[in-house]
């Protein structure tokens, strides 16, 4: 019979596909294609950031001719960042921080309720808490604009253009992130830890505070990080709820960009990139990226 072995654990020779090239070669080609494609995806993804940062150092005398790689490297544009950019970055940071805090304050108890309360209609409750994710952010923006306008007529105070108004809109949009990651981490939580504490005499509250919360904190931090980042970079909601005198950084840049690219914008944006990297490093120190990896699917 020679080299072919027919039988239940090997397909008969007649069903093996004909091969043009040895198996090893096709495997190598397939792997290279796959990895090449993935590399291309990464280049695509990271190129704008690198180009932006690099171009911010370009000493272009005609500012419409932004160059990358930079021709005469210079820091001069960093000194020409207008004050209002710094102000709007400040607003963005304060707003994102407030949003994250609010989202945690309301999102974590909601997660506890969803995972541990015995209630009829839990899917409905879950859907309600997830609903802001289903609404396009531009619709959230305009619906809150309308809401504030109506409040202005009904109660005489229109929160549009105020910090509170922005914070409420952002909070509505990002609370589901915290709820989602906290639910995920709670579901994986080993209740035996709590039972052990209780059997040793700790009260429920104490257990919650000193056992449960510390263990789930990484998940909460992840959700808070998502909240912060989503709020920081948001435009569709902020653009309706800000005024020319009081804006967030992305909106400020967006409105300016409509009028043409200018190097100080590049410098300011690069600063923001550095800032975001800093936040990420901080999170890595506190929580570790594996946590983000694990909670990745929790946003669904």
């Amino acid at each position: 019979m020679g080299h072919h072995v027919s039988g239940p654990d090997r397909p008969s020779a007649a069903r093996l596909p004909r091969r043009l090239l040895p198996y090893r070669v096709t495997r190598w080609i397939a792997a290279s294609l796959l990895h090449g494609w993935v590399l291309f995806a990464y280049v695509l993804l990271l190129a704008p950031l690198i180009v932006l940062a690099g171009a911010s150092f370009d000493g272009a005398e005609n500012y419409a001719f932004v160059n990358f790689p930079p021709e005469n490297p210079t820091f001069e544009w960093y000194f020409e960042i207008p004050r209002r950019y710094y102000e709007s970055i400040g607003v963005s940071i304060a707003l994102a921080g407030t949003t994250a805090v609010l989202s945690v304050v309301f999102g974590v108890p909601a997660a506890f309720g969803l995972v541990r309360a015995v209630l009829p209609g839990r899917p409905l409750l879950s859907a309600i808490f997830r609903s802001p994710l289903q609404i396009p952010s531009v619709v959230i923006g305009i619906s809150f604009l309308h809401l504030y306008y109506a409040m202005g007529i009904a109660m005489g105070v229109n929160p549009a253009g105020s910090f509170a108004g922005l914070a409420i809109g952002h909070f509505f949009h990002s609370m589901p992130y915290v709820t989602g990651t906290t639910v995920a981490v709670l579901q994986r939580f080993n209740t035996a830890l709590e039972e052990a504490a209780i059997s040793l005499g700790a009260s429920r509250w104490r257990t919650l505070r000193r056992i449960t919360l510390p263990v789930i904190m990484p998940g909460v931090y992840t959700g808070a990080l998502y909240s912060f980042m989503v709020s920081f970079g948001d435009i569709p909601i902020s653009i309706f709820l800000t005024t020319p005198q009081f804006t967030t950084f992305p909106v400020e840049i967006f409105l300016d960009m409509d009028q043409g690219l200018e190097p100080p914008m590049l410098a300011a944006s690069t600063l923001v990139i550095v800032f975001s990297l800093g936040v990420m490093l901080l999170v890595q120190k506190v929580v570790g990226l594996e946590q983000i990896l694990r909670s990745a699917g929790a946003r669904k």
């Binding site: 005609n62 419409a64 020319p244 409509d258 009028q259 043409g260």
Partner: protein, 356 residues
């Protein structure tokens, strides 16, 4: 003379000397007043600061600038309704003027404090506003490139639709500073009217590969890089192009038998309820003074409304070649009455015409 008489004489002489040497009370007449001026930023503001603010400061006033374009400043006025306005005098362009007047934000001018108004065309000295400058919107092109292509220099907007110029023409985006003037010029030169701009939009569609600029600098870059041969833009930019070494020429498009060229008109007015009306009126008088208008035109390319100032610019070779300096010719340029224009409808029609 007795000792007492000498003393009295000396005191008297000293007092008289002081009264003569020290400038009269009129110099301190604006003491303690702060004038807030709403205008654009950058060098536009800078030259006002250097040449007008210093004059008022010599009179004892303080001058502050509130930065913003006219519609942003109008929004600030609307937001401050019922309270204190954020500025006392501000610059307005033709497109924004109807809204400002309708909103009743201005107080009448005191022409006795604005004697320079006699140099302004009577039609543009109004109860509450006075014309300050105009930018001349036309076609800035590279005659060398036109010669290469073998086509005649453009005489009107329709000449830009020449197929040989495909992809070589840049016009203002509707939302840019030059958009309204462009659209009015296009429409009226093609037989349309202010309430029917379709002919103008059709012309935009006929210019193959047309590109839009949102900021003047983009057109300048396009021409410098050799990409663009002709842009619809105001003359001041063409002057800048010439200074940057480009071989440019301007052509102010013929609109109809009596009108050549389009003008974006600048105005100025005093806000109602201001506490420094006198300073505001003096500011305006200085703005339209011949000296300032000449300096302003040379620096910013915004042409004077002061009829004495325009002829003084003819000694500047570039301005002479690229702009319209004859006051009579300036009067014959198209000025759109925006109270008759529904800009929201215009924008909707624009969107539909350029949507891909």
């Amino acid at each position: 003379m007795s000792h007492l008489q000498t003393k009295t004489l000396r005191t008297f002489a000293a007092a008289a000397l002081i009264a003569i040497v020290i400038p009269p009370a009129a110099a301190g007449e604006l003491d303690g007043q702060t004038l807030r001026v709403g205008t654009w930023g950058g060098s536009w503001q800078g030259i006002q600061r250097k040449r007008i603010a210093t004059k008022l400061e010599a009179m004892g006033a303080k001058v502050e600038f509130v930065k913003g374009n006219p519609s942003a400043n109008l929004a600030k006025l609307i937001a401050a309704r019922g309270g204190q306005a954020p500025f006392d005098v501000f610059e307005i362009i033709d497109a924004t003027l109807p809204s400002v007047l309708k909103g009743n934000f201005l107080r009448p001018l005191d022409l006795s404090l604005i004697p320079n108004s006699k140099y302004i065309n009577k039609d543009r000295v109004r109860e509450k506003v006075i014309a300050t400058w105009n930018t001349q919107e036309g076609i800035c092109y590279l005659p060398g490139k036109f010669k290469e292509l073998g086509i005649a220099a453009p005489k009107t907007y329709a000449d830009l639709a020449n197929p040989k110029l495909e992809g070589r023409v840049m016009i203002p985006d509707y939302v840019s500073g030059g958009g309204l003037a462009m659209l009015s010029g296009f429409a009226l030169s093609q037989g349309g009217r202010l309430d029917n701009i379709k002919p103008g939009l059709n012309l935009v569609k006929r210019i193959k590969g047309v590109q839009f600029w949102k900021k003047g600098a983009q057109a300048l870059t396009g021409m410098k890089s050799g990409d663009i041969y002709a842009s619809v833009i105001h003359g001041g930019w063409c002057v800048r192009a010439a200074k940057a070494g480009l071989n440019v020429a301007t052509r102010y498009a013929r609109i109809d038998n009596n009108t050549v060229g389009v003008v974006k008109q600048g105005w100025i007015g005093i806000v109602k309820g201001t506490k420094v009306a006198k300073a505001a009126n003096i500011w305006i008088n200085n703005f339209i003074s011949t000296d300032f208008q000449v300096a302003f035109a040379k620096a910013k390319g915004a042409m004077p409304e002061n009829r004495e100032a325009a002829p003084q610019l003819t000694d500047d070779a570039l301005l002479n070649r690229l702009m319209i300096l004859d006051p009579d010719k300036m009067d014959r340029m198209l000025r759109v009455d925006f109270s008759k224009v529904d800009t929201s409808a215009w924008r909707e029609q624009w969107n539909r015409a350029v949507a891909k």
